[in-house]
Amino acid sequence: MSPNDVFDALILILLITCALAIARMKDLAAAVILFSVYSFALCLLWVHRGAPDVAMTEAAVGAGITAVLFFYTLARTGRREK
Amino acid sequence: MSSLAHLLPLTVLLPITAGVLAPALFHRRGLACWWWALAAAILTFATTVTLWRQLQSGSTISYPLGGWPPPYGIELVFDGLAALMLVLCALSVLILLAARRYVEATVPSSRQSLFYALILINLGGMNGFVAAADLFNLFVFMEIFSISAYALVALARGPVAALAALKYLLVGAVSSLLVLLAVALLHAQTGSLNMSDVAGLLAQAEAPGASALALGCLVVGFLVKAAIFPLHFWLPDAHASAPSPVSALLSGLVVKMGIVGLVRTRILFAEAEIVPLLMLDNLLVWLGVIAILAGAVLAMVQRELKLMLAYSTVANMGYIALGIGLATPSAVSGALAHTVYHATIKTGLFLTAGSILLCTGLSRVDDLRGLGQRMPLTSGALVLGLLAATGIPPTAGFVGKWQIALGALQAGQAWVIGVILAGALLTLGWAIRVINSLFFRPPARARVITANEAPVSMLVPSVLLAVLAVSAGLGGAILLGLVEPLALAIVGADHDH
């Protein structure tokens, strides 16, 4: 296993952990933050796989814009899952 | 290649560009926008008619976009299945015709142009979907008509419609994702996206497991889009709570796209002997049978007219799935004919139900008692449509079911005929309830007594479609003759039968 593979594996583990945590999270604001973390991890993976443009998009959309939209929605509904 | 082939991409570009321009040109000018949309739809219809005449005089029309020969570029094909465009465009014109008064009454003026934009984009997406000869292109057009459909459902105000649209969106997104996954798997297997190219390459693909997975994803994805029974749960709410012209569009046309997808899938995998098509066929037969019975029973227990119609769509999609699953030439041509006929019948029924809803504000069948005296033409159109839906002999609903029954005999599955009959009887049961309520009961609601006949722009499509629904069965032989080569192509390419 080359160092590259180790890096990939670590990010993938982080991704799965984040995904599970988002699904289980009752605090929706925390879920949104975790979703941003997930996107950043994915972004690292894109860079590592040689797709810097996709990574840029992922960073802007996944970690930035989506989070803003989610927070706006949360401000109108409520933070806890019922 | 004749220069007429250039018209093929126009069936996509024309409505979509008109839809994109609509909000820019006609902000807050609903009526002008309606004229614009109607003109665009009629023009698209004229385009398809020209293509159709070309198809009749020669072989299928294929158009390589950008001049890149397939599989390197994207190809659009106007074959027998894509000729369904003719029906899509014609019915869209009628739906738009009926939509004007409904939109004026229910959609705020600042959003009317957006409504027409979504309808036109939806039409362009469906046209592209039926003509796509490229897997990824198929997915893109599926997204176009799906996204506009979700929004159109959500346009009806109120929590029921919002929830229904959300459910539709979530289920639809999952099915789209499955199709996308299948496209990726097939591309990884063959390195190509052109469907006929992939079909040939699949036979020597190295990973049969991946092919099987792709087939499974495609079938489940399109079964959801076609609302075949256990995967139909999103349909009744979405179709019943949408604005009525949208209900007509969804129930008449958009669900049929799932059937087109299933047929394309079947053709795609016909040469790949790794995957047993017989299993798929049996699955379709069983799901179809269950859908026919369950849809009819569920329609029977409903109290709201539009919900009854929506469940009847579930049952009718069952007939079509059954016909394709039986996989004999007459059953498949019956299924294809029923696709066309059911589109006509159900569009008419939903448009008529929309007129009633707009004129009286009432939706429950019990509340509509005595409406036959106040709105004779609209009620009459509804009755004719219902009779056609039950499949009483000379009507349009009869032809497809009869052909499917014949096909069942050929396939040696005579028991299926019993199911078809039972489905028809159950449909007759709730149809009689509606007819009884409309014509043979005294009015119970003040709004029925004060109701007036629907405006002409709504009456014309309703009556026209009702007359078509009843009389088109007489021309059944013509339609069957048209779909027969296609049915043979679908079944004949298959080694299992």
Binding site: D53, R76 | H6, L65, I74, A151, L185, A188, A207, G209
Partner: protein, 235 residues
């Protein structure tokens, strides 16, 4: 019970998917079917025939132009959907409006300092997509993120004033419209819809124009989603 059932379904589905995918050649392996058939053809003759030094751009805007057109329409349809459904009109009762927090002078200055650089970078990404990784969608997303950031800091009203309101729908529709024009120009000059006409400079010009239109369209769509969530937005 329901959780256990869901878990079981997820595990079975994941197992099926893995079983299916495991038979495929490893990603990036040169003898995978992906790299032998169509892709190999693109790589062989792609850049000259495709009209762009960046192969991805050539495939996206030339070989598979109809797909990209479809994606642009999907974005536009989603924007129209959000505007038509009008999220802002749906909420009932008084909105929880936070008290107006005056813009911090520090943040204001810094944003004004950085915004031109970010905009420049977005433009760079859009145009650079012609030769290097990047392109209309990616640059447009950066531009959209910048506009949303500005609107967060300076307030949505300022942003709405920055966008040309009367012509807003023309600007929003720019990507599908430019695509449609390209398609027709292709028919007129090269004989096929969506074909790129011959002189190399014209071809490059069209590609750059398309990228710019896609970028502006994507940015405005993102801003549109954001503004439709804004409290005082009535289109």
């Amino acid at each position: 019970m329901r959780n256990a059932l869901a878990l079981l379904i997820v595990i079975v589905l994941a197992g099926l998917m893995m079983a299916g995918v495991s038979q495929l050649p490893p990603p990036g392996s040169p003898d995978g079917a992906v790299h032998r058939h169509v892709a190999a053809h693109y790589i062989d003759g792609g850049t000259e025939a495709g009209g762009a030094p960046n192969l991805v751009t050539a495939v996206l805007l030339n070989y598979r132009a109809l797909d990209t057109y479809g994606e642009v329409v999907v974005i536009f349809a989603a924007l129209v959907a959000v505007l038509a459904v009008g999220l802002s009109g749906h909420s009932r009762g008084p909105r929880r409006q936070p008290d107006e927090l005056p813009v911090s002078p520090v943040v204001d200055r810094i944003i004004r300092l950085l915004a031109p650089f970010i905009a420049l970078f977005a433009l760079f990404m859009i145009l650079e997509g012609h030769v290097l990784p990047g392109g209309g969608f990616q640059g447009g997303v950066v531009l959209g993120a910048l506009l949303i950031l500005l609107s967060l800091v300076l307030g949505p009203r300022r942003i709405r004033r920055m966008l040309p309101t009367p012509a807003l729908f023309w600007t929003r529709a720019i990507a599908p419209l430019v695509f449609a024009l390209t398609a027709i120009a292709g028919l007129a000059l090269a004989g096929w819809l969506f074909a790129l006409p011959e002189p190399a400079w014209l071809r490059e010009l069209i590609l750059v124009g398309l990228e710019l239109a896609i970028g502006i369209g994507a940015a405005l769509a993102l801003v549109g989603f954001y503004l439709s969530l804004e409290a005082d937005h009535h289109d």
